[in-house]
Subunit: 203 residues, 2 copies
Amino acid sequence: MATAVAVAVAPWKQLLVNAMQLNSNLKHSSYFQLATIGSNGRPSNRTVVFRGFEQEESNKIQINTDYRSSKIEDLKHCRFAEICWYFTDSWEQFRINGTVDIIDAFNPDPVKLQQRAKAWFAGSPRSRLQYLGPSPGLPYISEEQKQEYSLDPATGPVHAFCLLVLDPEQVDYLNLKSNQRLSFQSMQTDDGGKCWKTEKVNP
Amino acid sequence: MATAVAVAVAPWKQLLVNAMQLNSNLKHSSYFQLATIGSNGRPSNRTVVFRGFEQEESNKIQINTDYRSSKIEDLKHCRFAEICWYFTDSWEQFRINGTVDIIDAFNPDPVKLQQRAKAWFAGSPRSRLQYLGPSPGLPYISEEQKQEYSLDPATGPVHAFCLLVLDPEQVDYLNLKSNQRLSFQSMQTDDGGKCWKTEKVNP
């Protein structure tokens, strides 16, 4: 008899969903900072946009990125990342540490490729055009910039489009209004699932 | 004859000062995210407060922290850090990579100790009290929390107070309104000074 593996909703997730709701009047409330480690051994940090959870009942966090950006090189070198998400209205901070799955055009898993296509179509047709532009971070050549790009709205993800999925393993929650801090640590269960230990810590 | 070492004001600094001014109506405009590398080899990321430049003509960035916080352990293990500073009103991002100098109570340099004392007195008497509280990140014990702390406003920095000074080596500037990106790279000059190379790169 197969054992059912429970995908427990993490205890920090409701706090995060509440914070998103409380701050939803601010466009920047869906922006957070993603730290990675560069192949030069230095930390790297940039603002990215929250693109939803993998599924409604999942704890995994989705981010869209350009496959040619340096964060891909960072993540290929070291899969660990930490999100720092500060909500400016409710004064809440979430630090979410985990491993990142890179889902690019060459991913061998058809389910993941479908997930990538879904993320592509969830973006606006205008936002998709950026993936047709010149390589981010490379020297700017004015001739390249003059080019006008267009894309059929029905066209699937272009090669440069990449989906990142962060699987949280450790979450630190800080509320600066109530001055409370909680630490959440994931643990593997005997049946291959995940459970979370919650601890109140000093702010 | 001694050669004068020119401390050149970095070309990105005026952009940063302008952004601070443009966004000064927002309390959170002085908050940024600091990424470090933990001794476990994972990236770490948290929100901290900008406490000014080392001196008016300096490019070095000051941050106050608790010596007992985990970022000190991170920085002792690896001195590199990257600031990600996103200005929510002007849609500008600064990514500032450099090395961090830890100025704690045991620093042998009297000039640095003076700098630490200056940073201590620049904070409000109320904000100083947090350094008397229990160790950040350790399990919360309710009895400890009940304690009331007080401090003579004339008292100098307590042991737990630590000044961090980040010396920028590389800066990436992104303006999401104009869709322009600049890359600044520092280089050592022959006379031991520093000069900056500016390059326009693809956003």
